[in-house]
């Protein structure tokens, strides 16, 4: 019998999740599954899994390398995130970036926001009311920062990453910049 990846007891829950064509299999016992919010007390008939499960696991994997990180505003650490599954404050996205990027990469479609921008919500104006949502001709919301601004920001982040010898992050940023330049703009 397969063993639980967390405590070594016989595994009764086998979770397969496919995100962006990446398949991950996680095996665990009932208790660990419940602990990670994947099972209710009675046990679900089928796994109605949210991204949370996957995110938490990769969060845990990440936390090994992210040890020592701490949010300067609220004191949240990878460990406290592992315990609660929640971040402490908006600043965590800066100070716990290493942890968060890992979670985002494994649970989200992309790493850059492509939706509405805060404040001047321009989304409504860009949508033609005669269009249905299935219409492929629908216009995408206008982004506030220009491609150039975005590129500058990414370049700054890239420079910082190289300086800090975070080469993995640097490579990722380089790819992002390449994509952005290649697309000639963000729609």
């Amino acid at each position: 019998m397969e063993k639980c990846q967390f405590c070594g007891k016989p595994a009764t829950v086998h979770m397969t999740q496919v995100i962006n064509n990446k398949t991950t299999v996680i095996r665990m016992c009932n208790e660990c599954a419940a602990k990670h919010g994947l099972f209710d007390k009675e046990g679900l008939p089928f796994a109605m899994l949210s991204g949370l499960g996957e995110a938490l696991f990769s969060g845990m994997k990440q936390s090994l390398s992210a040890n020592g990180l701490i949010c300067s505003k609220c004191g949240c650490t990878p460990m406290s995130f592992k315990e609660t599954g929640r971040l402490g404050c908006p600043n965590c996205y800066k100070d716990l970036k290493l942890l968060i990027d890992g979670i985002i990469e494994s649970s989200q479609k992309g790493t850059i926001h492509k939706g509405k921008y805060s404040k001047e919500g321009t989304l409504t104006a860009t949508m033609d009311p005669t269009n249905s949502f299935t219409d492929t001709s629908i216009q995408k919301p206008i982004r506030k920062p220009s491609t150039e601004e975005k590129l500058n920001e990414l370049q700054e982040m890239l420079d910082a990453a190289v300086k800090a010898e975070q080469y993995e992050e640097a490579a990722r940023l380089r790819d992002e910049i390449k994509i952005l330049k290649g697309s000639g703009g963000i729609s």
């Binding site: 109605m48 991204g51 609220c74 996205y93 649970s107 989200q108 479609k109 992309g110 939706g115």
Partner: protein, 354 residues
């Protein structure tokens, strides 16, 4: 009826205007105030300030002219649960009601949770599949909120949320579907897998962690970052349209190949609803699901559809306690539920099979 019951039993447009297969749809946006810790880490004082600020801004939003605001801490347990049963707030919201408030409009089509997992969880509902209208509505509320409050936003990550699984758009769109024929023909398992592979999640009647009851399934987007709102809603609409088609095809198959079985099950369910004296909520929901199928297939008049949804709302455990204005144990509830169902179903005409 006390004030709370009146507000709860206000005619919900959601129940009145339902269509076959689609029970309801919802868009939810998660937002946080930039200058405060997220709810789980914030102190009581901060949560109080957040609630006050949000309440002030929301009260000035035109959509909430005819609405109710509740201090969740003031409510009885079954009252809180009744709000969950109505989908006006989440299960998580009522776990810790410290400094949390709930806004909802008289038509029950808009609700806002203050201090849930995020400072603001804003949701709009509709009884059909029309994300365009819903998005315009919630976007207007969001514009009002972000003009008046300093919302946590980052150019790269988008709207910042307490859990990174909501970051970006902060948007979760979901559709509740009634899929009896896909369950009967055992195609539902494959469908769930297919939907999951597309990055969408299938859940039961009450969202995260809930079981599928009465052939009701909730489909929602899993990912919130890397897509625009329009992308997410278009993809979800496409998926839902295909599922509706599968369900309607499966109904034809059932009618062709298992008609006696179908008549028998629908007929027995109506018998139970008319003659029961003690009925659990799961049995009631399963019988009501068959009645909804009977309406869709023309065995019962179309005008019953809205009433059936309203009855289904009313016979839920906490709704019964609100109606009776006291705590009831489960067997007392089963008796009261049966009484409500009998009362309603004696007025329902006999089935007209083809």
């Amino acid at each position: 009826m006390n004030d709370f019951a009146k507000k709860l039993f206000q005619d919900s447009k959601l129940a009145k205007e339902t269509i076959p297969v689609v029970v309801s749809s919802r868009i939810r946006l998660a937002r946080n105030l930039a200058d405060f810790k997220f709810v789980k880490y914030a102190c009581k004082g901060d949560l109080h300030t957040v609630a006050e600020k949000c309440e002030k801004v929301l009260a000035s939003c035109p959509i909430f002219t005819k609405s109710t605001i509740l201090n969740m801490g003031d409510l009885l347990d079954y009252e809180k649960l009744a709000l969950v049963e109505r989908h006006l707030c989440s299960q998580e919201f009522i776990m810790d009601t410290n400094e949390s408030k709930l806004f909802f409009t008289d038509d029950h089509l808009t609700s806002i949770m203050i201090n849930e997992e995020d400072h603001l969880r804003m949701q709009v509902f509709r009884p059909d599949l029309n994300f365009k209208t819903m998005f315009d509505k919630i976007n207007a509320i969001d514009d009002h909120v972000s003009e008046n409050l300093n919302i946590a936003f980052d150019n790269r990550y988008g709207f910042l949320t307490a859990c990174p699984t909501n970051v970006g758009t902060g948007m979760r769109a979901s559709v509740m579907l009634h899929l009896p024929a896909l369950v009967i023909t055992k195609q539902i398992g494959n469908l769930i897998l297919a939907v999951q592979k597309l990055g969408f999640v299938v859940r039961g009647l009450f969202g995260e962690g809930s079981e599928a009851q009465g052939n009701f399934f909730q489909i929602s987007n899993q990912q919130t970052l890397g897509f625009s709102e329009v992308d997410i809603l278009s993809r979800l609409t496409q998926i839902i349209r295909s599922i509706i088609e599968y369900e309607l095809n499966a109904r034809e198959i059932v009618k062709k190949e298992r008609i006696i079985w179908l008549y028998d099950n629908i007929g027995r369910a109506l018998g139970i609803l008319r003659g029961c004296y003690c009925l659990t909520s799961i049995d009631a929901i399963n019988c009501l699901s068959l009645m909804m199928l009977a309406v869709d297939l023309g065995y019962l008049p179309n005008t019953l559809r809205g009433d059936l949804h309203q009855v289904m709302m009313k016979i839920q455990s906490s709704h019964i306690q609100v109606l009776e204005n006291k705590v009831l144990n489960s067997s007392e509830r089963d008796v009261k539920r049966a009484e409500l169902l009998r009362e309603f179903f004696v007025t329902v005409p006999n089935l007209k099979f083809d």
